[in-house]
Symmetry: C2
Subunit: 116 residues, 2 copies
């Protein structure tokens, strides 16, 4: 699959990452997402990683960058569905995802974005 | 990835299919989804296939079966994000997805499920 779908939920965009990200796919996602934030006037972005068992430093950095891009476009990003093992790995890799908010699941993330 | 994540949005469940389905993955999805419908007392299921460029008879049948299973559990299924080429293929394959409602995108699907 060449693209990760971006779903619109009201004023929010939802991205579910299910596949291992490689460079090109990550770049495409960032292009698509920034374009959609502007086009759909989105105020928030939910990135669901519940399907990921492992997150390496590449994906960690990609998520941080995507959140930073959304921020300069005036949209807030919430990372949802992180598995415990992923949290452990991220901290062990020294990636604390500064500036990225997290929530337990999509529902909590939606609440967080709707009630800042 | 062994599992397709099922996201809860209020009383609805959202499944985004991004990868090519093989037998085992489809069976796992059906098991997980029926379990979640009961556990979360879901009234509706949204299946997003916007990432799929092709849908073969196996996936078509899987979607029909999943919708039938949801129906007997008192949840309605809406298939969203179908690409034009997929619609052409499905009809050419003789699969008209009887009993499966469709909507243009997730937003329309949510509206359809919330206002029956």
């Amino acid at each position: 699959m060449e693209r990760i779908p971006i779903l619109k939920l009201g004023s929010l965009l939802l991205v579910t990452i299910q596949v291992d990200m490689h460079d090109q796919l990550a770049m495409t996602l960032q292009d698509d997402l920034t374009e959609r934030i502007v086009k759909d006037r989105a105020r928030g972005v939910l990135i669901d990683i519940s399907a990921l068992d492992i997150v390496d430093s590449f994906i960690g950095r990609m998520i941080s960058n995507t959140a930073a891009m959304a921020r300069v476009l005036d949209a807030r990003t919430v990372l949802v569905g992180m598995q415990p093992a992923v949290a452990i790995t991220l901290v062990e890799l020294g990636m604390t995802l500064t500036g990225v908010k997290t929530a337990l699941n999509v529902e909590q993330g939606v609440l967080m974005l709707k009630n800042p």
